[in-house]
Subunit: 141 residues, 2 copies
Amino acid sequence: MAANSRVTIAAHALAWLELARRRGREVLTSEDVAASINTNAVIVRRSLGDLQRAGLVRARRGNGAGFSLGRPATEITLLDVWLAVSPEPLLALHHSEPNLECPVGRGIRPVLTDLYDEATDTFRAALARWTVTDVLERILA
Amino acid sequence: MAANSRVTIAAHALAWLELARRRGREVLTSEDVAASINTNAVIVRRSLGDLQRAGLVRARRGNGAGFSLGRPATEITLLDVWLAVSPEPLLALHHSEPNLECPVGRGIRPVLTDLYDEATDTFRAALARWTVTDVLERILA
DNA sequence: CTCGAATGTAACAGAAGCTGTTGCTTTTGC
DNA sequence: GCAAAAGCAACAGCTTCTGTTACATTCGAG
């Protein structure tokens, strides 16, 4: 499958929200954000809906509404973003149960689960090293 | 999408090949391997075909043929397996080009590419710490 | 209190990928 | 030459992703 781009969309939206905030615009509509990402406003609302559920952004409804950061951009890491939008594990186990009469089939699942978790943890730790502020500042540099 | 299970299938096959080798069977058919994984023999041939292209297994055709390890199990890491079967990046960039008139849209792609590469490298390094022998021994322990 | 702007959300289409299956071709040892 | 097994192509069913339309909901402004 083509890998999904949700983390990218969400990180883009957050960086843009932070830049707008620095320019004096606290609130952006999904249309505003979609224009920068070059996608559909519904895609943005879905993505920012995930982030809102995780507390990373706030959404206001009604006239003059829109999205704003839920906490300082220095306190939002890419790990937060990944956890908010990416429920799928990086590596999957067997779709159907392996043959339990084979020693390998019997014992492999917990072993791989452990190893996958370990690798995934290092991946998460790497994402946790970068905040939305870091991303924006590297963009502007 | 449901994450793919190719690394799991390949690792299972390699561990089973190594166990069979220790028991005196150098060569297993795709049917033999499929019986342990509990899947179709064609799935196994596709997976082991990837591993063969990477030099991790050898395939012999014709009567009495089958698959055997291409090098010692102590010299095959899960990273080798991942590289052989998993061409997709862990995180994808935008599907369509962002708006280049926005500062964020203009600068975000190389930044995210760098950060994603960094995180992916730590993931790979974690996979590289484990060999097929390690996996098999943890299974048998 | 009404209006209008914007979010929330459901439904659907198109494309892509994965697994699994069948059937056929190719190879090769005996 | 035969038989066994890999190689490979094609297809079905399922799921997921993006994108789109349409509509319901919310809420500030006047």
